[in-house]
Symmetry: C2
Subunit: 147 residues, 2 copies
């Protein structure tokens, strides 16, 4: 576990800081990974592989789709990102790894963080014997008001 370079972990990060962050997580700092890290880790956000790919394209950086998927999955495995398994259509990656919940617009798929202080999960559910919590996800799906 790192915790060395960035207190909150989401300040605009220098190339050096990014490299240190990857290294601290046991991730080799390649050009492509640094590009993706710069896009994704600089501030809390929700991204899909497709989004990362298009942003890279907009910046003129050419990174293959396979590498984007590999990198996002690697970051998630090493704790730099959190995988959100709440959308059947696409895998979302969250650069905010703190415990928090989400609002999703069902029409656009867009995700928004839920204010951690506004909603709370109360009560200890009886877990199946021999199991432990791997993660908790709360999604409030919203749509445009009808009528």
């Amino acid at each position: 576990m790192p915790a060395s370079s960035t207190p909150l972990g989401h300040e605009p990060l220098s190339q050096e800081a990014l490299r240190a962050r990857l290294t601290a997580h046991g991730i080799g700092a390649t050009a492509q990974r640094l590009e993706i890290a710069a896009l994704v880790l600089s501030e809390p956000q929700h991204v899909t592989a497709e989004i990362v790919l298009s942003r890279l394209g907009a910046l003129g950086r050419r990174v293959s789709k396979a590498t984007v998927y590999n990198t996002l999955n690697l970051f998630a495995a090493r704790g730099l990102l959190r995988t959100l398994a709440i959308d059947p259509d696409v895998t979302w990656f969250d650069s905010n790894t703190d415990a928090h919940f989400h609002i999703q617009h069902v029409d656009s798929g867009e995700l928004v963080d839920l204010d951690p202080h506004s909603v709370r999960l109360v009560g200890l559910p009886p877990l199946p014997p021999g199991t432990e919590v791997a993660g908790i996800e709360v999604v409030i799906r919203v749509r445009a008001q009808t009528g």
Copy 2:
């Protein structure tokens, strides 16, 4: 599956009752739909298209994969089932349409209802303006205890 309780609409259903239920929801009562309804609506449970397909096969009923998907989606659209969009690998359909949350085993994918009385969501999240709640999903993912 021990039916310790019997939520609304989950009594063992006769062919007549099933037909009436479909008709009441504006669904034409075809042979295939009745087969699937008998399997799925008779008691609260979580199923995937694949599960329904294999159960039908085990009973010697031949229903095409396309029809199983069409039927489950139709049932969900008409309110007989609830779609659970919490598993990136597969779409789960829940024949318990009452508000409740879930525990999922990350290894097997298996879903279990969370006792509605043990866990509660507290606090009103500020919804994006012009939106209304379409649904709320809470998933507690568990895994086999390590160590």
